[in-house]
Symmetry: C2
Subunit: 150 residues, 2 copies
């Protein structure tokens, strides 16, 4: 055997933190699905709407940055949300490159319907308040560390 046993142990699925993180993230999106279906949204569309519910207006570039999504993903998502009547896409007057997104009345109405979702999802996960806090802190810490490597 070329390597010692220890170096292979790290390749076992049960010794990897990456896998439960990946699986948990997918499972979470799956739990959202039935709730979001009532709003005719996917999870990705939902997080875009969350930004707009909070800010009313946002540039495409800022959105891409805060959601960690590139334009290859964002462009078609924004097109669908525009077609659904939840937001508008306009070019900035002073700079034709910039795309400005604005919440519409239709999009604003969704916010009421969505208000009960976070607590429902939290219940699905079944963690204590303290555990949620720890999970939040650690995922953001790892995210920040990985960002800095780009």
């Amino acid at each position: 055997m070329a390597k010692n046993d220890h170096s292979y142990d790290t390749l076992k699925l049960k010794n990897q933190v990456c896998f439960p993180l990946y699986a948990c993230s997918k499972e979470l999106v799956r739990q959202y699905t039935p709730y979001l279906k009532e709003l005719n949204l996917t999870y990705t569309q939902y997080i875009v709407m969350m930004v707009l519910w909070e800010r009313e207006t946002v540039s495409s570039r800022e959105l891409a940055e805060c959601l960690h999504l590139d334009y290859g993903t964002l462009t078609p998502v924004l097109k669908r949300l525009d077609q659904a009547g939840y937001l508008t896409r306009e070019r900035a007057e002073n700079d034709e490159r910039l795309l400005t997104l604005k919440l519409t009345e239709g999009g604003r109405k969704l916010k009421d319907k969505a208000a009960e979702i976070p607590s429902a999802i939290a219940e699905c996960m079944g963690l204590t308040m303290e555990e949620f806090g720890v999970l939040y802190t650690l995922t953001y810490k790892a995210l920040k560390n990985m960002e800095e490597r780009q």
Copy 2:
């Protein structure tokens, strides 16, 4: 306003644990990409190979279960790994429905090349050993709780 301020606060991106989990998972897969490119694997293909490196043989059904993937995802992934020569797909003799996957010599060779990946990724995340442990425990706990709701 139909709802009180508090119920809307939960809809803010920065108050959601789901979002950093989702973003962290994607960022992790992105960090894997350059390492896995040298092995000609995607992340999903990599976790399939991890199971085979550990077990040599596994049924398609068991694989789907332990990776939390359905056949719609798994079938094409397994086809590509078969074409790449990393595994074989055979029907079980006693039950023609069952698909048995077996690691090939070519697939086994990849294991050596992959041995250094876990520590490289761990370094990217920049967490302490203790933090890794906590993250592992919490994500598996949430995963288990969500599974039980199906």
